[in-house]
Subunit: 319 residues, 2 copies
């Protein structure tokens, strides 16, 4: 009987599920609404139904499923399978999600991991990290998620909450982050905070072609900022330069922590393209120590939104 | 025939050597001058002679030596056994120290590692890190050396230069560090830089009981600053508070990188005692995120200056 693996990427908006064969070839995938405002039981039932539908779509049955991987935003007690208080899931409070989902899926083994770790593992096995043993991974969205691969394995730490590099402090006494700390990299250089800094600058009176967007739509997105950068707006240049500089410092700190051979950026913001990547590299070269020549590669992820389901399935296969 | 192990701690001032039995019990130790200004051959010969003398002192012969561990300041190409350009060793330029020393000691296997990693491993096997699997280690001296233990192993990175956490940037565009970066934790909170900040403040006109020391001796040490803190000097309080705050931020960043269960401080500065440790803990609690309750322990090392030779011997035994 053929063995297949389910990879689940639980996000605040959508649940993505993929079914993979034992070579991690994608057989089928589906996406459904998380209904994040509903109670935990409903959300877990949504995950279970999506998993069953995806298996059916792949042409196999649940009997073929050897294990499932579940990526979910942290912090959580991943080893114990418990979501304590994930930031964007108001109803998830001390929910033993792994056990409930496993029982609902007929006792299947479920590997439970941080969503950024899962996407990191996806890029490691099948994307921009293929072939290397040590990498760091950053996903630039509402926040900055991160993952670390050390000697070919996910670095998980003493309590499975390692690799929260977006919350390393790079600006002593700096901007307040949603996590409660001051000066986190995330407070400057996530997609949301890049847009927010542009908004704040305009509200403080700085001139910019972005003002029209803010006036018309009531908000600016990170994409708007990069679009206006490309059109020559000075404020957009200043804001995106600061984002790239913070991301370069984050690369330097990641290098001095676990010394990856490659640092990979993912998330919606990388749609900005080379204008972002080259600026990060420039600032990295400007700020890095001169004690030795560093050869770390900085690049973009290649799997897009599938990184999570691939990584989750790969973790399920590896367990 | 009894097997013994040699642990060597190569510093800019002294070479320390210890001989250990297979239970890592110390049999003998000696210390000799490095003669750092001399050529590399002389320094390596000093290491070899000290090793032979230590073995003789232990009552054994070189035939009993199964392997040696050598801890040496970085950055270096540890895997290849080559010192590229260690900061405080002016004559060490691309020296294949492992091979030269091994040949000089009759072909003994030599494990070559960063000095802070070696001391970290010493504390892990026999000191303040005993019994835990994930730790971070900082040694506060001229610089801030660091080591990371992940799942019971030294974290060495893609090129064996991981765990340089003292050179993570916590102050965007801050004080210039000896490494060429701006705003490294080391540039504020090493013992030398704590003394230097006090000196700079006095030279800028700030009032302090330390001024008398500076006028009389021409310099202030970190010990002076902590002595005057204990005697109630306001500037000493301000300077040591800043040191403790930076070390707390370093703990937060180390936690968000590899999530140690314990963070251990070592080096001359910990002689300051609880007045330093408690302040680090206070600032840690003040600055740490509120997404989850962190339980990491922050404490002082227990092996003192022997951590390096114990760690080096333990690495030799483990290889």
């Amino acid at each position: 009987m053929a063995n297949i693996f389910i990879g689940i990427d639980l996000g605040g908006t959508n649940i993505k599920v993929g079914c993979f064969d034992s070579d991690l070839k994608l057989l089928a995938k589906i996406s459904t609404s998380t209904e994040v405002e509903k109670d935990a039981e409903t959300i877990i039932e949504n995950i279970a139904k999506a998993s069953e539908q995806c298996v059916a779509k792949s042409g196999f049955s649940m009997n073929n499923v050897l294990a499932a991987g579940l990526g979910c935003p942290g912090p959580a007690r991943y080893k114990e399978g418990i979501i304590e208080a994930a930031t964007n899931f108001p109803t998830f409070r001390n929910i033993p999600i792994r056990q409930i989902l496993s029982e609902r899926l007929g006792g299947k083994t479920i590997v439970f991991e941080n969503d950024a770790n899962v996407a990191c593992f996806g890029e490691f096995v099948a994307g921009a990290g293929k072939g290397i043993e040590d990498m760091a991974f950053f996903t630039l969205g509402t926040g900055i998620g991160s993952g670390i691969i050390n000697k070919g394995k996910l670095l998980t730490g003493a309590g499975d909450n390692a690799a929260e590099l977006g919350h390393t402090i790079i600006h002593f006494d700096g901007r307040l982050c949603n996590c409660g700390q001051k000066g986190c990299a995330e407070a400057y250089a996530s997609a949301s905070n890049t847009a927010k800094r542009a908004t704040e600058a305009i509200q403080a009176g700085e001139k910019s072609s972005l003002k029209k967007i803010l006036d018309e739509k009531g908000q600016i997105t990170c994409k708007d900022v990069y679009d206006h950068l490309k059109a020559g707006d000075e404020l957009a240049k200043k804001i995106t330069d600061e984002t790239a500089e913070v991301l370069a410092i984050l690369c330097i700190n990641a290098l001095h922590a676990t010394e990856p051979a490659r640092i990979i950026f993912a998330g919606g913001m990388i749609a900005a393209g080379d204008i972002l990547l080259n600026r990060i590299k420039d600032y990295f070269n400007e700020h890095i120590w001169h004690l030795r020549k560093e050869t770390v590669e900085i690049c973009f992820a290649t799997l897009g939104e599938d990184a999570g389901i691939i990584g989750a399935a790969a973790l399920a296969k590896n367990q």
